[in-house]
Symmetry: C2
DNA sequence: TTCTATGCATAGACGTTCTATGCTATGGGC
DNA sequence: GCCCATAGCATAGAACGTCTATGCATAGAA
């Protein structure tokens, strides 16, 4: 039972945007990057990842194109749009605000 | 559209447990406390609150009894059980771990 | 007496994440 | 030549948590 998520709900889009802000990347690579940078704490399942990427495309926060990876495989590379970069800023500050608020509640002994 | 939640999904139970760890309280009071301590950033809607309280009861993390408030109203007071106190510890450390992991991903420029 | 604040509770909609599934293809080892 | 692990995309459906909307009740102030 007790199915604790490998991800904090609501933060996935932000994490993807941040990852893409470093460099264009394909889905698989994004998942790897998040897992690696978080020291294996955050795991992005494919069933979460691809719907999230669709959302980003739909919102105009990223665009996609098929290319070849360094290892000679075809993959869909996602690039952040200016709107996406702006959105990243918004989500980062909202996140910070949320965390700060939660800490205020938690620290009040 | 764009329906940003007033609450970070997955953190509500932790916030309630923490609030009850200070003193037994009724639902309405819990919502007030969280809102006040967070400087109005976190708003707990009733449709989120009461289902959450049911979860806590069901898990044995809190128990409830009807009492009168200071203002002479009948209300259901929730008290943390030992298991609930333990659970609070678990959720706090999981939360910290999550936040730390997210920060690692975000800070990696 | 009417209104506001206090107080509990549920049903249904909605969005996100997870599980499960299916498909393709590359490169290494046997 | 064949198998298998890895890389890679994608969707359907279940599960879950939160929000909107609704209903009910009562104390005290205006």
């Amino acid at each position: 039972m007790a199915n604790k998520p490998e991800l904090m709900p609501g933060t996935l889009d932000m994490l993807i945007l941040k990852t893409l802000a470093r460099a264009p990347l394909h889905g698989y690579g994004i998942a790897q990057a998040i897992k690696r940078l978080s020291d294996d704490v955050l795991t992005v399942e494919e069933g979460s990842l691809y719907p999230a990427l669709q959302r980003l495309l739909l919102q105009g926060w990223a665009k996609a194109e098929w290319r070849m990876t360094e290892t000679n495989r075809r993959a869909r590379f996602y690039t952040l749009t200016p709107a996406g970069r702006k959105q990243l800023g918004v989500e980062l500050s909202e996140f910070d605000q949320m965390i700060a608020a939660i800490h205020r509640v938690l620290q009040n002994a």
